[in-house]
Symmetry: C3
Subunit: 152 residues, 3 copies
């Protein structure tokens, strides 16, 4: 099934692609690899959730933040390659989680993105992953995701 159709079936509507405010770009393609800039959980132009895991937010809220950040990444990807149906494989995801002292459940938070990737792209959505704790993230975002996609 088309990944775009799958998105529709799942009732998911992508936000407009976030615009970098500085001298970088949302994505760079080299051969069949698409390197995406870091994404945070923007919704309607501002962070849907703020703060640190283990202090301000629960794991469930972090999971939701990861899901929203993924939508921003997919929006960038679609805007770069025209349609998500040209995604051949989600290659790698690095998930940074703003972590208060003692918070070590980064994987459970980043699952918010990983789970949805597999729902949408099935086997093509199974990616290599790194989940780490960050001291602080831009704008007080709870998470930041960096993707490499293989595209056609």
């Amino acid at each position: 099934m088309s990944f775009e159709k799958k998105l529709t079936l799942l009732g998911i509507e992508l936000p407009p692609p976030p615009k970098p405010v500085a001298t970088y770009v949302p994505a760079v393609r080299v051969g069949d690899l698409l390197f995406l800039s870091g994404v945070v959980p923007f919704r309607n132009g501002k962070l849907a959730l703020e703060g640190k895991l283990g202090e301000d937010l629960t794991v469930e809220q972090g999971y939701e933040a990861a899901r929203i950040a993924l939508l921003n990444a997919l929006s960038i990807a679609r805007s770069e390659i025209g349609t998500l149906d040209r995604v051949k494989r989600v290659v790698r995801l690095v998930g940074y989680v703003a972590s208060a002292e003692g918070f070590v459940q980064q994987p459970a938070v980043i699952n918010g993105a990983s789970d949805l990737l597999v729902k949408i792209f099935e086997d093509a959505g199974r990616h290599a992953r790194v989940a780490v704790g960050a001291a602080e993230l831009p704008l007080n975002s709870p998470i930041e995701l960096e993707f490499i996609l293989q595209v056609i």
Copy 2:
């Protein structure tokens, strides 16, 4: 000399490849690049060492943790490509070190992986490297390593 033979000569036995507990996979290959998921120092299914550098663990213990995490990565690589003799080059290693306030010897810790890579793979083991301090890491792991390998 064969890298597999070198491993045997060094008396190194790889652990079984760690299994991701979530919807990601241990590695993704695109062309001749193999992207590995983050590895931590698992031994017999649990962390061989826990805690932060500069607080719970010495640099020597961190070095050992990096060495053990590398074995997990090599185990994944072997399981993906059949034999380590198909490693053409270790391309890049990012080493995250769980760092207490004021701990700035991340490079000395990550050397535990870098040194062993060169022992096993010689020139093919010389990699680009990034060593950084993380606020927290999954499961209270002291280090996490992310590899990109070039494979045949």
Copy 3:
């Protein structure tokens, strides 16, 4: 215009390439991708600035640190490929910013590298970017940059 000439016009002189002190190398090339090791703001063999953003250094000082670290990266690149005129595209930059509690302006700091990249390489300098906060960085460096370049 030649990127090397642009560098001269901008009055920029690159430092000698920093030498890794351990068993890794400054850069590894695979196909047309050049993966650079992490760089810190070295000048004359030592850190030009030290400490954390939000505590020891202002955003302006962090911006300057990112600029200096970039010069180290460009020096490595030139040493690997002979001339910066063989840079086809700056693909991706990960910028780690040593961040004290509550410092969330990592993007403004990393702009020190991004802005200069675009001045030197123009459109070829527009890169995908990730800016994150690190708990600690090697040698008490305020920033660390990791680049992937596409080269000819």
